[in-house]
């Protein structure tokens, strides 16, 4: 694989130099991505959809200052740790959640050469580190010594059991079709993929994997604990569940983790099912690295679309009950995804 | 309105038949009864309290449970005097309405007095035996000596009355059942076995009036903090905020209704 800055600066950097630049890019990308989603969808789209007045006020034009104000507010708020809480676990939990979000970005390719680390087991890795966040949630809920938090974290654990399988199984269909688990490889496979001999310069996997795409999005919604799967936070029942005792920046870091994960999962879904940074484009663009420049833009567009879907559903639907989530996962999502995997495999072997 | 005015004074036929049915079932336990508009008010003996509820629910189809509450007919001299201080001149002006027949235009409750004996002259009756009430004043002793009590529609023999109201959701007629309770030990059997909803109402009545409901599963405070002493809705329970400082609201109230009347008169 070529180096990250090769197309831009024309010379090869040492390994550690590349890493520093990549990490710096990610360090910027995640808060900015989280803030972007928080701004565009959580504030502005919500305000318009729900005819909210508050988020449209601060700063004048469309309340542009709202998010910055929120962040500043959280940073300068008092940090309270309950006396009964397990202090170590309590303060460690936000780190775990944010770390899980950061690790997701490792494998997301934003251009033919732009990927932090093109792991050969990329998808598998993403699913694995994505579930670490639940560990943080469990830690937060348990250590708070609060009943709502405890119930919220137990619900989160139960939810992990329910959605993790559909998420994994939905990915397997893509893996079968592309024959690789590397995220970059999956994008490349979609460049070459065509059905019925109709070569349009590649085709996204959503065409053949539509059921699995739906299942993936449902499971992602659950992983992000967004409504209708927000039982672990459930404001009206558990008073934000595992986050009840958190305040100040620690609380904000859960929020950051949620938004960052939303961004990352949208990017993964866009990569797996919508072709990632690729649109039908001349092969020469990819060869002469022009795609490295437009790739991030293309991916960002797709990510915003996926995030729009996630947040749209979030603002529209009521919350499920825990048993209903389990029923949906076990009685519908898992059998359907298994069936579709077999269908994909049969088609793959047959053609 | 026009049609209502005509039907208002005639006794309601459905009510009358309902009351007759109730009397037939309850026999001598019915102490007094009246029909007001579309409401029946009966007074039963306190031993027949549960039986009356059972009859109302099972035999008369009065399945809807409305409320249980209590009455304390004791005159509260502190409250009366408070009015007199502010409204002294007014009181003289309309003194006539106090004990005579109401002089207001039209006798609204136009009661069909089916059982005239207890209801005929409740005030005279009350005047006849004020003694038990003053004796019976229970713990928190009132600062001033209670002067007696006057009972209301369907009469009453004692200071305390427990009352309940049940309704038939099909016939749309309501029945208010009252029972006189003992002055020193107000006690009656619980209705929670008949109407499940009576549970909370009895707790409230116990808390507010100090009526004991025998057999109630969970007679604890419902509104007031645990350990609250006294029974706030008894007339001899002092309204402390008023004792400490006179309420300013009483003085500036007079013009409101008068103004409204004058405005209408002008238009």
């Amino acid at each position: 694989m070529s180096t990250i800055l090769h197309p831009i600066m024309g010379f090869v950097l040492a390994y550690w130099q590349q890493q520093v630049i990549k990490l710096a890019a990610i360090l910027v990308a995640i808060p900015v991505g989280g803030l972007l989603l928080g701004y565009v969808f959580l504030m502005k789209m919500m305000a318009h959809m729900q005819s909210r007045l508050g988020p449209m006020e601060p700063g004048g034009f469309h309340g542009w200052f709202q998010n910055i104000g929120d962040a500043v507010k959280f940073i300068q708020k008092e940090d309270i740790i309950p006396a009964q809480a397990d202090k170590w676990v309590f303060s460690l939990a936000p780190y775990v959640v944010v770390m899980s979000t950061f690790l997701l970005y490792l494998v997301i390719p934003v251009g033919p050469d732009l990927v932090v680390s093109n792991l050969s087991v990329g998808v598998f890795y993403a699913l694995a580190v994505g579930s670490i966040g639940v560990l943080g949630v469990l830690m937060a809920g348990w250590s708070s010594a609060n009943k709502y938090s405890l119930m919220g974290s137990l619900r989160a654990a139960g939810q992990l059991i329910a959605y993790e399988l559909p998420l994994v199984l939905a990915v397997i269909g893509v893996v079968i079709q592309s024959g690789t688990m590397s995220m970059q490889g999956i994008v490349t496979a979609q460049q070459k993929f065509h059905i019925f001999g109709l070569n349009l310069g590649g085709m996204p996997f959503i065409v053949t994997q539509f059921p699995l795409f739906i299942i993936f999005m449902i499971a992602a919604q659950a992983e992000l604990t967004q409504p209708p799967f927000d039982m672990p936070v459930a404001e009206s029942e558990l008073v934000t569940g595992y986050m009840t005792e958190y305040s100040g920046f620690r609380f904000l870091s859960f929020f950051l983790g949620e938004m960052g994960s939303a961004f990352a999962l949208s990017a993964i879904a866009a990569t797996l099912f919508l072709g990632g940074w690729y649109l039908p484009m001349p092969q020469s663009w990819i060869n002469n690295n022009f795609a490295d420049y437009i790739g991030p833009v293309i991916l960002l567009t797709k990510v915003m679309f996926m995030a729009f879907l996630i947040f749209w559903i979030r603002f529209t639907y009521p919350r499920f009950r825990e048993d209903q989530l389990q029923a949906i996962a076990w009685k519908y999502l898992i059998p359907i995804s298994l069936l579709w995997i077999m269908v994909t495999a049969i088609l793959k072997v047959a053609f | 309105m026009a049609d209502l005015a005509t039907t208002e004074n005639a006794p309601d036929a459905a009510c009358a038949s309902l009351l007759a049915l109730f009397r037939a079932e309850m026999g001598a336990a019915v102490v007094g009864a009246e029909i007001q508009r579309h409401e029946i008010i009966v007074r039963v003996h306190r031993d027949a309290w549960v039986e009356a509820a059972t009859v109302a629910k099972r035999k008369l189809g009065l399945t809807y449970f409305c409320f249980i509450s209590g009455m304390d007919w004791l005159d509260n001299p502190t409250q009366t005097s408070r009015y007199e201080n502010v409204w002294g001149s007014v009181e003289e002006e309309v003194e006539g309405t106090e004990d005579g027949e109401p002089t207001a235009e039209g006798e609204p409750e136009a009661a069909a007095k089916l059982d005239p004996a207890p209801a005929a002259a409740p005030e005279a009756e009350a005047a006849a035996n004020p003694a038990p009430a003053s004796e019976a004043a229970p713990e928190p002793d009132p600062a001033s000596e209670p002067v007696g009590f006057r009972t209301g529609v369907a009469g009453g023999d004692s200071r305390f009355q427990v009352m309940m109201r049940v309704v038939s959701p099909t016939a749309h007629r309501g029945l208010t059942i009252k029972a006189d309770l003992d002055d020193t030990d107000p006690r009656v059997a619980t209705l929670s076995g008949v109407y499940a909803g009576a549970d909370w109402h009895e707790r409230e009545t116990w808390e507010m009036f100090g009526f004991w409901f025998d057999g109630h599963p969970n007679l604890i405070h419902i509104y007031l903090p645990h350990g609250f002493e006294g029974y706030p809705l008894r007339k001899d329970f002092p309204l402390l905020a008023r004792e400490v400082k006179p309420w300013p609201g009483l003085t500036n109230v007079e013009p409101i209704s008068g103004q409204a009347e004058e405005e209408v008169g002008a238009t």
């Binding site: 029942e237 603002f315 639907y317 009950r321 | 189809g61 409320f67 749309h172 409204a260 009347e261």
Partner: protein, 405 residues
């Protein structure tokens, strides 16, 4: 009248209709399930407080729930955090002053609280308000109903996790409140009713404005239909949750939409002789045979639509004339007892007014709807999941001031 059977089995259920029979069987099965689940053989339950400061209790109601995992062993509401002792306070107030007190019982539909008390006083005094006043009372009563129930329609969504409906509710309720304000001068606590009539007549242009507001409310109802009633998740969360059979509902004194959702065809607006003019309007009492949370939501939604219909008719037929009857300068109410109850947004709200001829009542028993509606909670929440407590509480719909008085 003497039927021991509940009105559900006689009135609402049609034996020839298999769907209704199936629903009845379903209700019975649900109710039986609830009772079976009570006996949970465990002693390691967790006690959790929902409230007094909890998002689901809109007010300071405290619900003490003993849980086994996520399942409810017992659930007991505990109130009194807002007890204001109105029944005692009425004894030291004059009649016109009490209107301001009772305004604050159910603060979402304050005007509707005034009406039965004023009617009781008028009944004792033998005064009838003039026709225009009665029409206006009915009109504002129904607007108060919309202001109240519209909030429920949105709030039910937010309790179930859908945030959007409540904002729509606040948005459109605002128009109704504006109209109430411009007519009465009070947004939340109008204090507009007087013994013998109303405080003042309508301002200019009010009727036309109200018509446009009603259109907005109708539109809001359609939105709620789309957002919640037609939503599968909403159905999954509400259908079969908190089933109250008709007998139970009557036993606990459930009234209003809660009773009608259990199939009891009873509405005080239609079924009691009131000087207010509901009987002169063309409207319908909606019932639902299921008795579950969904039915309660559905019935209330239809009620708002009926209220809109009523308001349109009331605006059309508003008679001219005075709005005050001749009343004495100083209101003294003759001795007597009067019980007047009306069909308030939350259910039957009644005042048992006892007068001994003074300037103030001797005693007022306030029968508020929510107190009875909530008293069924311990029974109906046995064996349900924690989220169902919220569904049931939200669908029973209480206002804390209406419980605590």
């Amino acid at each position: 009248m003497t039927s021991i059977l509940s009105p559900t089995t006689t009135a609402a259920l049609n034996p020839a209709n298999p769907t209704e029979l199936r629903q009845a069987a379903y209700i019975a099965q649900q109710a039986a399930d609830v009772r079976v689940n009570v006996e949970l053989e465990t002693d390691s339950g967790m006690t959790i407080n929902l409230g007094p400061q909890h998002p689901a209790t809109h007010g300071t109601l405290r619900i003490i729930a003993r849980l086994d995992g996520e399942q409810v062993i017992s659930c007991e509401p505990s109130m009194g955090y807002m007890h204001r002792g109105y029944e005692k306070l009425t004894e030291v107030r004059t009649y016109p002053q009490i209107t301001t007190l009772v305004n604050r019982i159910d603060w979402l539909s304050s005007f509707a609280n005034e009406v039965p008390f004023i009617l009781a006083a008028e009944q004792l005094m033998g005064i009838e308000a003039p026709p225009r006043a009665q029409w206006l009372r009915t009109l504002l009563f129904e607007m108060a109903r919309i202001a109240n129930v519209a909030l429920f329609l949105g709030d039910m969504g937010v309790q179930l996790g859908a945030v959007t409906p409540v904002f729509y509710a606040f948005r459109d309720r605002e128009h109704v409140l504006n109209q109430i304000e411009s007519a009465t001068g009070g947004r939340f606590h109008p204090n507009y009713d007087r013994i013998g009539g109303l405080k003042e007549d309508l301002p200019k242009g009010w009727i036309a404005e109200t018509r446009t507001v009603i259109e907005k409310v109708v539109n809001f109802c359609n939105q709620m239909d789309d957002l919640l009633v037609g939503n599968e998740i909403f159905g999954a969360r509400c259908r079969g949750v908190g089933v109250i059979p008709a007998e139970r509902a009557l036993d606990y004194g459930l009234s209003g939409a809660n009773a009608r959702a259990s199939g009891i065809d009873w509405d005080l607006r239609r079924d009691s002789e009131s000087p207010l003019v509901w009987n002169k309007l063309d409207w319908k009492v909606w019932t639902h045979p299921d008795g579950d949370s969904f039915a309660r939501y559905w019935v209330r939604l239809q009620e708002v639509r009926e209220s809109c219909k009523m308001i349109t008719q009331l605006l059309d037929g508003l008679p001219a004339g005075p709005i005050m009857a001749k009343v004495p300068r100083i209101i003294k109410v003759p001795a007597g007892e009067a019980w007047v109850s009306t069909e308030n947004p939350l259910g039957e709200m009644g005042y048992y007014v006892v007068s001994q001829g003074g300037l103030g009542p001797f005693r007022v028993k306030i029968r508020s709807a929510s107190f009875n509606n909530i008293s069924i909670v311990p029974w109906v929440t046995k064996g349900v999941f924690v989220p169902d407590i919220i569904t049931i509480l939200a669908s029973l719909y209480f206002i804390l001031g209406d419980i605590d008085r």
